[in-house]
Amino acid sequence: MLPIDAAAHSSRWRRRHPVDKAVLGFGLTVLAISLPPWPGAALVLVTALAVLLGPAGVPGRGLWRAYRVPLGFCVTGALPLLVQVGGPGGFLTAAEGGPVRAGELLLRTSAATLGVLLFAFTTPMSDLLPRLVRAGVPAPVVDVALVTYRMSFLLLDSVRRVRQAQAARLGHTGRAAAWRSLGGLGATAFVRAFDRAARLQSGLAGRGYDGTLRVLVPEARVSVRFTAASVALLAALAGLTLVLEGPLS
């Protein structure tokens, strides 16, 4: 299981309905990209961090490990904003207001990412996927997503073992060997995926498979109190941003 999913399974908010957490998490994300970066995204960032590490009880170390991945892209993507092409100063010069734009972008992206992480760190994928049918996603697509989700871990484990076996047979000692091993790895993944699907099909056919994958979903009800508190928090953040925008900008 992946670290974010593992953390979600042992989260304090594990038993809450996904809608509760979606309102809060995705609400924060929407606010982060809709409000002015300063002070709006900054407020969202602080609030999301406080909720993640406080009431949601997400471990700080795990959060940082997940958070640093998108941050790398954001920093790389913000770098071009620091320079401008053409103009009186030369072909490539420092962009006027570039650092501010880059800083605002980093602020907005960081805050928006934390909102999604709040949802991801508290909602296991196995709780979310079966409920997507109620949200209007066609059942066959949800079934395919469920099989993909469950088979990915098995396939990744197979790939890891094949890679270890290749390494033990000096399969990564030279460039040619590395390419050969990598090709073998990709082909093996394909063969194993289809072999596993065929065996699953045989097993399900023996159990009267009619095209629908039935899975148990933990019972949970949408909490009106939690959702109302989330909406109030989001409204307070938006209001505070509007109040502070003038004096702080």
Binding site: I4, P70, T76, P138, T148, A167
Partner: protein
């Protein structure tokens, strides 16, 4: 991130460590695009995804067993993007997998499988994002597969050898994915001096140009994988329509499965 020895391949001791390597595949991060752009790219991707969902739903209703094969195809696409790719320049990155996926499973199905994969990457790996899902789907699950598949089919039409067409398909799919991402970023953040074209040059030089060697690498990897598959999995390739079916041995029903 755990360092991996090039000589022994040791270090990849858990699924997480294998998956952390996915991070160098380029997806636009959460919140990176302004709201209007995020909505516009979502709207641009929607028809392709809806078309893919319709074909997938029809396929599953006609052949319920396809659910498992399509799920396996999705898992294969997810895992393929986690493989570590040695670049011809000596650096390392990861294949997009869009070219091979489009050749094996066709672009409409790839639009759905790509969307599912991107959703998993956003929620399980914090890679990409939900507000940028439309933009990422457009580059990685729509343009990449269609461009790669178009190049593949065009060359197949002129009887170019299979492996050459596979290389070109994977190369075009990879490069077009990154070019579209550069366009998306340039549209969102035009250069103050030279506008969209200047920004395209900047983002292109940061992302797309560095991807040319990686696109070559992905093309080579795809050829190696396909050569092995032709030797070991002729049945599956015939069923997927990559290899011609022998008359009388493979029916239309079998060909339809997992397309």
């Amino acid at each position: 991130m755990v360092p991996v020895s090039q000589e022994t391949g040791q270090g990849a001791s858990s699924i997480h460590e294998v998956l952390e390597r996915v991070c160098r595949v380029m997806h636009i991060a959460e919140g990176f695009l302004p709201p209007a752009h995020a909505i516009a790219w979502g709207a641009a991707s929607a028809p392709f995804v809806v078309h893919g969902v319709r074909s997938l739903t029809r396929e599953v209703r006609e052949h319920p067993e396809s659910t498992l094969l399509l799920g396996a195809s999705g898992a294969f696409t997810f895992v393929l993007s986690a493989l570590k790719l040695p670049s011809v320049t000596g650096s390392c990155s990861h294949p997009t997998g869009t070219g091979l996926g489009a050749i094996l499973f066709r672009p409409p199905v790839m639009a759905v499988l790509g969307t599912i994969t991107l959703l998993f990457q956003a929620l399980l790996l914090a890679h990409g994002g939900l507000t940028t899902l439309g933009a990422n789907v457009f580059s990685m699950a729509v343009v990449g597969p269609w461009a790669g598949y178009g190049a593949y089919r065009l060359l197949r039409h002129y009887d170019v050898p299979l492996m050459v067409t596979v290389f070109c398909g994977a190369f075009v799919a990879d490069l077009s994915t990154y070019c579209v991402t550069s366009v998306q970023l340039a549209l969102a953040f035009p250069d103050p001096g030279s506008g969209f074209l200047g920004a395209l040059g900047k983002f292109g030089s940061v992302f797309a140009v560095t991807q040319i060697p990686l696109a070559v690498s992905e093309g080579l990897l795809t050829v190696i994988v396909m050569r092995l598959l032709v030797q070991s999995s002729k049945g599956e390739l015939t069923r997927l329509g990559v290899l011609p079916a022998k008359s009388g041995t493979t029916g239309a029903k079998e060909q339809a499965v997992a397309r």
